[in-house]
Every structure is written in structure tokens, then in C-alpha cells.
Amino acid sequence: MGYEWDFGIVLRNADLLLLGLANTLKVTGLALAFGLPLGLALALGRLSPRRWLRAPVGLVVEFFRSTPPIVQLFWFFFALPLLTGIEIDPFRASVLTFSIQSSAFFAEVFRGGIVSIERGQWEAAKAIGMARGQALRRVVLPQAVKRMIPAFLERVIELMKTTTLVATVSYADLLYQANNIAQRTYRPLEVFTVAAVLYFVVLFPLSLSVRGLERRLARSGETTAH
């Protein structure tokens, strides 16, 4: 029990950890940038009146929501290059996996927001002659987005936590860097604790803002979509 903590080692490797954190944020940001529009497209596909579109899109969404992201990542990193003959580095495999994986969840956030809008709004838009796309863009989405923000931020938090998996395919994110430093210095306790703290420092404010927003929306009588 008489363990002597030594955070000096962590401090001396701070630049590596911060570089890892930057890489974590980079993968998260890119996955978000691709995952959001893809998620909206999937949501619209799932809400389509056309069965031939709705059914396969639903299957894709459910598949990516119901399988572990690490399996998806390994499939994209190890299996896909063999199937296509295209080399794929850890970074691209990670961005690809987490874009698709998060889009499946964003699709459900979008869908929840869209269906939470009363039918009367669609009908009023239709009654003045709007096409479905116009009604969606001008009337439904602007109202839905407000309700979706908490659920959306919640997904961003989950996404960033999930990106730690990129360490398992040797992409130098925060966890990967921490692991390297821990092995080199034989100080896993300090290094992994600090890594956890770094994640917490980024994610906790996000969590707090989710709760703040939910409270504010609840007070203004808005429902939030989940």
C-alpha cells in the first residue's frame, strides 16, 4: 500500500498525451462531420413511405446500433481491405467506422425529433401547397432540431468515448499514447489516471450542458426527443 505516486513522469510526457487528446478530438470531429448528414439521410430513408427504401435502411441502422463498435472497427480495418484490395490505414478505418456507427445513432435522434412534431404541422404545410421536402425543411426540421439538441449532445459524448477503440488498431489517440507511456515508464497508475481525468475534463462540461439544456427546454414547455 505504501505506493509513492509520481506524476512527474506524466508531466514529462504531457506533450504526447495532449497530442493523443488532439487526435481523439480529430477522429470525433470528423466522425461527427460525416455522421450527422449521413444520419439525417438514414432517418429520412427510414421515414420514407416507400417500403423498398425504408426496410433496408432500417436494417442498416439496427445492425450498426446492435453490434459492438469494436467488431465494426476490426471488420473495416482487417476485413474490408482484403475484400476491396484497397489499403486502409488506422486513421481512415477509424473515421469510416465511427462515421457510420454514429450516423446510425444520429438517424434515430433525427427520426425521434421528426416524429415528435404533431401531424397538424405537416398538414398545415401541405394545405398551403408545400411539397414533402419543403414541409420538412421549412416547418418540421426547424422545430425538431431544437428538441433534438440534448439527445444529439448525448450522442457526441458517447461518440467521443467510443473513439478510444481506435487505440486497438494502433491509431495514436489519447488512450494509445497513455498505454505507450505506461509501458515505457512502468507507471500505469499515474498515466491511466491522468488519461481518465483528461477525458473527464472534456466530457463533463458537455454532460452538464446537456442537463442545462434539457431543464431549459422542459421549462419552456418543450418536449425533448430521445
Binding site: 398538414e123 398545415a124 404545410a125 394545405a127 408545400m130 411539397a131 421549412r138 426547424p142 422545430q143 431544437k146
Partner: protein, 264 residues
């Protein structure tokens, strides 16, 4: 009443079923230009469904809707097919006012009224603004242009909804129980707006429970029962001396109805 012109709306043999339940069982009716036609009937008699078939919020199961002499939809193998692209311009020329207003809550009164002219008719912005101002003034809300719906009373919201429909300069206006969701003291202002419209010659098809209003405004009253037009006639006949027992029974149930001088 107003001078009457040609036929704006004709409905022929209209049927509508939801699954196994047939709500409309063959409706024929005609509305001439400038006419105000009131549909009466107990809840579940199909009057709202009939109204919603006119602008194709519900797609009829059979029969035809003829607007301005043009039958909507294409007939093939005995069925009528409708394409969404064909229905959009119809809806743009038929205004509808809903029971629950259905204003767009993220837009001000003015933006609500501008939305159709801007997005659907693609008119220049300045013209849309001008229209919105004109029609909001017409329904007595010139001073509420920049208010959001949540800051308006129910009666004011419904008048914005009427202005929103009018801004499309429709050939025909549909009113689906426009005052049913309002507190009693707010009903009058909306009925007055509707009456003014009718006096100016707007063609209107109206579902309402306000018999006094029907008496004062309607050119023709139809009583729907069990998916069919059970009785029809001018208001001073149907509302005063109904021929059918069902109609009498329905009118008795609306004890608040007081004859002629009523609210107007």
C-alpha cells in the same frame, strides 16, 4: 348574400374508407363561386373527412373531385390515381383553416403568412411582406405582425391562420371546425372574420357546430349522417323546418341555437 358565378367545386360519388370502415359512402355536392356551404353532422358523420378530401389531405377511395371544371387525378381501370406533384398546385389554390390552428410556432405571425407565397408561389420577398401585412390587417391583426403564436390568444391565432390561407389568394376556403377549440368568449371574433370573408364573395365550405353562424352566413346547409348527405337545403328551411327526423334530432341536441337575430 353575394352574387353567384360558375361552379368552383363539384364532388361526384365520393367515397372514403379507412381500412374496413367506410366513412364516406357516396357524396355528391356542388359549390358555386361566392357561395358559402355549411356542413353539419354529429361527430363521426364524416364531415371533416369530406373537407380533407377536397384538398387531398385524405386521398378519396372512389369518386371524383372537380375543381374549377378540372377533375383531379387520372382514371385508369376504374380507379383514380393521384400524383403528389399534381395535388400540390390544387392545395395552393384551396385554403384550409384547421380546428387547432396549426400555426408554425417557430415563425412570427407575419412569417407564417409569408411562408406560402414565398416557398410555394415563389413570389419576391417584398411582395410577400406586403401581402402578409395586407391580410393580417384584414383579419384585424396589423398590430400583432411580429408576435409569435405562443404570445397570441386562441382567437388571434386562428385569425392568423385565416390570413395565412388567404395570402395564397385561394379560389376556395375550407374551414374545419375553426372555432371548436376556442374559449367561448373568443369564438365571436373568428366567426365575424369568416362572415366578412363570405360577404366579400369568398367561396367557402365550412364544417361547424355554430348553427347561428350557419343560419346567418350559409347559402346552403348540408346535413351529413352516416357517410351520406341526409338532407340539404337553404338555412331557413333546413335549420327551421327540417324534413328528416335525424336532422330534427341533431338540431335539438344543439339547444344553444336561437333563431334569426342570434349572434349577428
Amino acid at each position: 348574400m353575394s352574387e353567384q358565378g360558375g361552379e368552383v367545386l363539384r364532388i361526384e360519388g365520393l367515397r372514403k374508407a379507412f381500412g374496413a370502415t367506410e366513412v364516406l359512402k357516396g357524396i355528391d355536392l356542388s359549390v358555386a363561386k361566392g357561395e358559402a356551404v355549411v356542413l353539419l353532422g354529429a361527430s363521426g358523420s364524416g364531415k371533416s373527412t369530406l373537407l380533407r378530401c377536397v384538398n387531398f389531405l385524405e386521398i378519396p377511395s372512389a369518386g371524383r373531385v372537380v375543381i374549377d371544371g378540372t377533375a383531379v387525378g387520372r382514371e385508369r381501370d376504374g380507379a383514380v390515381l393521384y400524383r403528389e406533384a399534381e395535388l400540390i398546385p390544387i392545395r395552393a389554390h384551396v385554403g384550409m383553416v384547421f380546428q387547432h390552428f396549426n400555426l408554425f410556432p417557430h415563425m412570427t405571425a407575419r412569417e407564417n403568412v409569408m411562408e406560402g407565397p414565398r416557398t410555394v408561389l415563389r413570389l419576391p420577398r417584398a411582395e410577400c411582406r406586403e401581402r402578409a401585412g395586407r391580410y393580417l390587417a384584414k383579419v384585424g391583426l396589423a398590430d400583432k405582425m411580429d408576435a409569435y403564436p405562443s404570445h397570441l390568444s386562441g382567437g388571434q391565432q386562428q385569425r392568423v391562420a385565416i390570413a395565412r390561407a388567404l395570402a395564397m389568394e385561394p379560389r376556395l376556403m375550407l374551414f374545419d371546425e375553426a372555432t371548436s377549440a376556442l374559449d367561448p368568449e373568443l369564438v365571436g371574433e373568428v366567426l365575424q372574420t369568416m362572415k366578412d370573408l363570405s360577404d366579400e364573395g369568398m367561396t367557402m365550405l365550412i364544417v361547424t357546430h355554430e348553427l347561428g353562424f350557419a343560419y346567418a352566413v350559409a347559402d346552403k346547409v348540408l346535413f351529413l349522417h352516416d357517410g351520406r348527405i341526409h338532407e340539404e337545403g337553404p338555412p331557413d328551411e333546413l335549420l327551421v323546418r327540417p324534413r328528416e327526423a335525424r336532422t330534427r334530432e341533431f338540431l335539438r341536441g344543439h339547444a344553444s341555437f336561437r333563431l334569426p337575430e342570434a349572434e349577428f
